[in-house]
């Protein structure tokens, strides 16, 4: 089932402004990555105090309050829900102080392009998000999104999308992404999905099911029944399939779950247990680990099938692996030195060298999509999520709890999810933290959750 998300120049449809005027005057450019001009002062990884930018996000206006096929209700209710989603997205990042639609007056349609700046400056809003919602004759929903600087009385960014009713939340995520990118100078990440393992039941007989959800926990769906234990999923870069470990027929093997056909198959036949499946950033390769006679090594094979290549050959446990964004290198975990540590190698297995030298054990390394950091689990008594640079320097802890494990990066490399296990009960939950380590929160899931795997920004 292919869902269409059509982007469009919204104003041309809603207002009698020549379309050419829209394309001729694009919103101010988002600064290129790595520069700070135009964004907030400081970088997300900076330890300095954050500006808390006040953003007013009133309900989106509509041309006519009519029923829709969305789960939100009428266009008016949809406009309210949109602003709520955007507000929730922009919270907890340490960057913004968003105020949502529940405590703000709703603008009229005409004000979307010509805001009543006096109202908003009186409310001490520095930034203003306006939008509109319109139901199309074919049931689709058109959403326009505008970001204004209240003091400057200036439009900073605008965009629009037409989405099928079932995909209405994506328009809100796209709008939040536009605001986040324009104001922070960082790449967007809200319009993305997460695969994870939903957990229920007692500690000694946990039921573990493969599940997927949007980056904010919405559109949750179970993919397996729990009859067979499922672990360690990874979304393919194109979101069409998920690699995961299953105990089908009693032994751990790697399956590919095809989300378009809702069918699954073995990645490859093997008499030996297979663990730790991973995709290359371009989706062309799969990494996996094979245990043979007590010795575990990392292999790679073309995702379309073909001959595996053995990448490691140490007598210890070499496991996991995460490609650098350009696909040229792989960071992985090995206990060849006597304890779990983080190593880097070239994508063909050459040049293996240890990069973690700070005491304790270092596990589950994941290369940032930006390439500048490696997130991992540092074990020294407690398990903590930490980052280091790809050379192994500048260790920085992001969390401090009894057992935090298995970081996964947001598509923009600025936020990390992981799972936290409670001492005693063994209950798990998915948590999220930004690179400052200051903005940590639990992601609400229907049941307990572990092994989160964040997919890329959706197309």
């Amino acid at each position: 089932m292919t869902i269409r998300l059509r982007t469009l120049a919204p104003l041309a449809l809603l207002f009698t402004v020549p379309a050419a005027a829209q394309t001729a005057s694009p919103p101010p450019a988002t600064p290129p990555q790595g520069t700070e001009e135009g964004g907030l002062s400081g970088a997300v990884s900076d330890d300095s105090d954050w500006q808390n930018l006040g953003i007013a996000i009133p309900a989106f206006a509509t041309n006519a309050d009519v029923p829709t096929q969305t789960s939100a209700g009428s266009t008016s209710a949809l406009g309210f829900a949109m602003a709520g989603i955007i507000t929730a997205n922009l919270q907890n990042n340490g960057l913004f102080k968003p105020t949502g639609p529940t405590s703000l007056p709703r603008p009229a349609l005409a004000q979307i392009q010509a805001p009543d700046f006096g109202t908003w400056s009186a409310r001490s809003a520095e930034m203003l998000v306006h939008g509109f919602v319109r139901a199309e004759a074919n049931g689709q929903i058109t959403v326009g999104c505008y970001l204004y600087d209240v003091a400057l009385q200036q439009n900073l960014a605008k965009a629009g999308w037409t989405v099928p009713p079932a995909e209405w939340r994506r328009a809100a995520h796209k709008c939040a992404d536009m605001v986040y990118s324009r104001l922070s100078g960082e790449s967007p990440f809200f319009d993305s999905r997460i695969a994870y393992i939903a957990e229920t039941g007692p500690k000694d007989r946990r039921l573990k099911r493969l599940a997927i959800m949007d980056s904010d926990g919405a559109n949750h769906r179970y993919l397996t029944t729990g009859q067979t234990m499922a672990l360690t999923p990874r979304y393919s870069p194109d979101y069409k399939s998920i690699l995961y470990l299953s105990y089908f027929q009693g032994n751990p093997r790697i399956f590919i779950y095809n989300l378009e056909t809702n069918s699954q198959r073995l990645l490859l036949q093997s008499r030996d247990p297979l663990f730790a499946p991973r995709w290359s950033p371009d989706g062309k390769w799969v990494l996996y680990s094979v245990a043979r006679a007590g010795n575990t090594d990392i292999y790679k094979m073309p995702s379309s099938g073909g001959d595996p290549v053995k990448l490691t050959d140490s007598p210890g446990i070499d496991i996991g692996g995460s490609f650098s964004p350009d696909g040229s290198r792989i960071v992985f975990e090995s206990d060849r030195s006597g304890s779990q540590q983080v190593y880097v190698m070239n994508a063909d297995g050459t040049g293996q060298r240890r990069i973690s030298f700070f005491g304790g054990r270092a596990a589950t390394p994941e290369w940032s999509p930006r390439g500048d950091q490696i997130a991992f689990t540092h074990i020294a008594g407690n398990f903590r999520i930490a980052v280091m640079d790809p050379g192994g320097a500048n260790l920085r802890y992001l969390t401090d709890s009894w057992q935090d494990e298995a970081p996964t990066w947001a598509p923009n490399g600025r936020v990390i999810q992981f799972f936290r296990t409670a001492r005693g009960s063994g209950k798990t939950g998915i948590w999220q933290v930004d690179l400052t380590g200051r903005n940590e929160r639990k992601l609400e899931t229907p049941v307990d959750g572990s092994d989160p795997a964040w997919g890329p920004l959706r197309p």
Partner: protein, 173 residues
């Protein structure tokens, strides 16, 4: 991700009615079946009455706890207590040469998930190798690792973790 030429791009997309594919969201009426039946582990069976010699129930009863060996943190070596247990297991297995066994490797919760899967496999394999060294045909022995997924002691204490770092021999009836 540079978003600056958004409007130009958008207009082009609209003109071409370019449909960008995204992943499916329509939930199926019911979940597809799992690949297969669930896994059992550590099923202890029956009481003492009516135990068939050479059965798993017989093995469990005869071993009196020695169907399980224990490991130190992050270790997989076979110590003297383990050797005694595996010798008892081997003696029983030599008596019933047609019996096949599964060796389950387990870890405590204080390890990362994937590493523990590999470590559990290593433990099961160490026990298998020792049984083989005692004359049990390795072709009779399969191994499976559950990592930290199937603890028997549920507390988060050193004592509970010590009980969970184990390899369990289960004969196949």
């Amino acid at each position: 991700m540079n978003t600056s030429p958004r409007f130009t791009t958008l207009a082009l997309m609209l003109a071409g009615s370019l449909a960008l594919s995204a992943c499916a969201t329509k939930a199926p009426k019911q979940l597809p079946p799992d690949p297969g039946a669930g896994v059992g582990t550590n099923s202890s069976q029956g009481g003492m009455q009516g135990i068939v010699p050479g059965s798993q129930a017989d093995f469990a009863a005869q071993m009196m706890g020695q169907d399980t060996i224990f490991f130190d943190t992050d270790k997989y070596n076979i110590d003297s207590a383990d050797q005694a247990a595996l010798q008892a297991q081997a003696a029983w297995l030599m008596r019933y040469p047609a019996k096949r066994v599964t060796l389950e490797g387990h870890c405590d919760e204080r390890g990362t998930r994937e590493y523990n899967l590999a470590l559990g496999e290593r433990r099961a394999n160490a026990a298998k190798n020792y049984l083989a060294s005692l004359g049990v045909d390795p072709a009779r022995i399969t191994t499976v690792s559950y990592g930290k997924e199937r603890p028997i002691a549920l507390a988060s204490t050193e004592e509970a973790w010590a009980r969970n770092r184990r390899a369990v021999t289960i004969t196949i009836d």
